[in-house]
């Protein structure tokens, strides 16, 4: 199970890095979404996968009777999902506004903050 997921996570990272390296901003954003999911699955898998034993302690015991699923990675993943979702939403709007203002979705052409023909500083005094 872990091996299969590890391969899947590796695939996700490959796709994410490939998309992040492209120059179209939409593809970069898709790369970020996939990267976030890859990280979430990685945390989930790193917390060990156990099947179908909920971490609930019976009334008369102090500790669980048998090995149970680990709830902490799920809490971590939940936090990370919320955060990456909100950041993704923000970046989508930001990218759209930047597209409106700059008129291009090609990051090589987005040179308003750093213009290509920026003059060199005065050389002599």
């Amino acid at each position: 199970m872990e091996t299969g997921l590890a391969i899947l996570i590796g695939l996700f990272f490959t796709v994410a890095v490939y998309l992040l390296l492209s120059k179209s901003i939409v593809r970069i954003l898709l790369g970020i979404a996939i990267l976030g999911n890859a990280v979430n699955m990685l945390i989930f898998t790193a917390g060990r996968l156990t099947r179908e034993v909920p971490p609930v302690i019976p009334n008369d015991l102090y500790v669980p009777a048998e090995a149970t699923a680990n709830p902490l990675p799920q809490a971590l993943v939940l936090t990370a999902i919320v955060i990456s979702f909100s950041f993704f939403a923000f970046l989508l709007v930001l990218a759209f506004r930047a597209y409106q203002e700059t008129g291009t979705d090609d990051v090589n052409e987005m040179r308003i903050a750093e213009p290509k023909d920026d003059p060199a500083p005065p050389q002599g005094y």
Binding site: I25, I43, A46, F87, M110, A113, D118
Partner: protein, 527 residues
């Protein structure tokens, strides 16, 4: 219902003693800024009250941090756990001298930025949330300095990141959106790398508490190979990205010159230093063997970062972009301290961080005043300030000396410590790079002063001539802008002339991370 459960002795899992009143200061910086941010957000339509309300909470923050630092110096490292759950199960806030010092300096800088913002941020900017974002940014920054839990550190990083997005696009003009795209995407990738490392740490050690991880790593005893080396490399890349170290520094010069100048000032002071702080915390406290293993890589990164910053600064015409490269240069100097990793080197890095937070914020503020007086940030067009306002020209010269590391200002002492430590450790090239980058910075800043201040006006005007100030701008340069700049400049001069106090403080901060037994004992008690 409750009666049907067996009565349980909770002392094995929970803190049973009430928290000492003074220890509440540990969470005070986070609470104050969060509550202040929420209140400012609710009242943001009342743009006249915004600065007053914001300044109340920012001054409360400074007082809380002074109290916290005093308590840490008095009692040693303080730990407080959320919900009373004993570590490593509860999320711990663990404050040592390093965290408390940086938190205090950050709050002072934010206080001055709040003062400056009252003038430079207009009513539209206030309505769109300058003060709420500033306070929430400080929530993230203080939380990152104070937390003792590595996943919690990730959360604080995200808090400061989302607030910084808000500040960065405040004003919504084309260059800002362009810069924010690069800043936003690269920083998000950086935090994702951090999260990967954290997930792997949890997979290997089954804990997220920094002190607990530190103990488990030291029990491992083996050199940093295998998974641990992967984690260390991921953390190095992630925090180098956050700190804008070479070769992942591109987002900083692409974005830091686009927002309102006071926002640039806060960013330049605070954000990159949180990355450096995390590097020091993780590589000194948690994974010291990995740091030794990677010391050569880190020193190469440090040299490349310093030289990129200094040479980049030489090539800029725009004053704000020039300063952006100087921020990067400073990051390189702090990384040099991490590469050496001795007590003296880490003290130097902490002192440099304090100096850099103050002086970079002050320089951006000063450059904002240059633009108010001359109407431009370009070295080709600015000029005549010396003639019009010699006192301000003198202040700028002090800051230029300080950022270049010339005595008798605050930049001199940390550089002395760092160069000394590098030579003691047999890393002469590192020391040489610190000196060379200081020399190049002196040229870049000297040139900025000569063109923007000494020359009489735009290119071609004779020297020393006074700038004819447009009547509308005469009143702008008022006491309200002098005050924040004056506070920061006074600190620059004070730390330069009276460094003993800082020597002691940074030595305590450094010994706390070089020999983290006090940190671990504070979390787990005497075992």
């Amino acid at each position: 219902m409750a009666g049907s459960y067996p009565s349980v002795d909770v002392s094995a899992a929970m803190v049973t003693q009430p928290v000492a009143a003074g220890d509440w200061l540990v969470v005070a910086p986070v609470l104050i800024t969060m509550i202040g941010g929420a209140l400012c957000l609710m009242t943001r339509k009342n743009t006249d009250a915004q600065p007053k309300l914001g300044m109340i909470f920012l001054s409360l923050l400074v007082f809380a941090n002074v109290g916290l630092l005093a308590r840490v110096l008095d009692k040693g490292v303080i730990t407080m756990v959320m919900g009373g759950w004993l570590p490593p199960f509860g999320i711990a806030f663990t404050v040592d001298a390093l965290g408390a010092t940086l938190s205090l300096i950050a709050s002072i800088v934010a206080f001055t930025a709040g003062l400056y913002g009252a003038i430079s941020v207009d009513h539209t900017g206030r309505r769109y949330g300058f003060y709420p974002f500033l306070l929430l940014l400080l929530t993230g920054v203080s939380g990152a300095f104070l937390t003792g839990d590595i996943f919690n550190l990730y959360v604080w990083f995200e808090v400061l990141l989302i607030s910084s997005y808000g500040l960065l696009v405040l004003g919504n003009d084309r260059a800002q959106l362009d810069g924010a795209v690069k800043y936003g995407i690269l920083n998000l990738v950086g935090t994702n790398l951090f999260l990967i490392g954290t997930g792997l740490i949890y997979g290997v050690f089954g804990t997220l508490n920094m002190a607990d991880i530190a103990m488990k790593v030291s029990e491992l005893g083996s050199p940093a190979t295998g998974t641990l080396a992967v984690i260390a490399a991921l953390y190095l890349l992630a925090f180098a990205m956050k700190a804008a170290a070479f070769p992942v520094n591109f987002w900083l010069p692409a974005s830091y010159h686009t927002p309102n100048i006071v926002v640039s000032a806060v960013f330049a002071g605070l954000l990159t230093k949180v990355g450096v702080y995390s590097l020091i915390r993780i590589f000194m406290v948690i994974m010291p063997e990995s740091r030794e293993y990677m010391a050569d890589v880190i020193s190469l990164l440090a040299i490349a970062t310093m030289l990129t910053g200094a040479i980049g600064a030489l090539a800029q015409t725009e004053l704000r972009r020039l300063l952006g490269y100087l921020v990067i240069m400073g990051i390189g100097s702090m990384l040099a301290g991490l590469a050496v990793g001795t007590n003296l080197a880490i003290s130097g890095a902490i002192f440099y961080a304090v100096h850099s937070i103050i002086v970079m914020t002050a320089l951006y503020m000063a450059v904002g005043i240059v633009a108010l007086l001359t109407g431009t940030y370009s070295l080709r067009e600015a000029g005549g300030i010396y003639g019009a306002n010699p006192a301000f020209a003198f202040v700028f010269l002090i800051l230029a000396f300080a950022v270049s590391g010339l005595p008798p200002f605050s930049g001199f002492w940390p550089k002395v410590m760092l160069v000394d430590a590098s030579f003691q450790d047999g890393r002469g090239w590192l020391g040489a790079a610190i000196l060379l980058s200081g020399f190049l910075t002196t040229i870049a800043m000297g040139r900025a002063w000569i063109y923007a201040f000494w020359r009489g006006g735009p290119e071609g005007t004779p020297d020393g001539q006074a700038l004819a100030l447009p009547a509308a701008q005469q009143g702008v340069f008022s006491a309200a802008l002098w005050l924040p700049l004056g506070i920061l400049t006074a600190m620059v001069i004070y730390f330069g002339l009276q460094p003993e106090w800082m020597f002691e403080l940074t030595a305590r901060g450094a010994s706390g991370v070089v020999e983290p037994s006090g940190y671990i004992r504070s979390v787990f008690g005497d075992q």
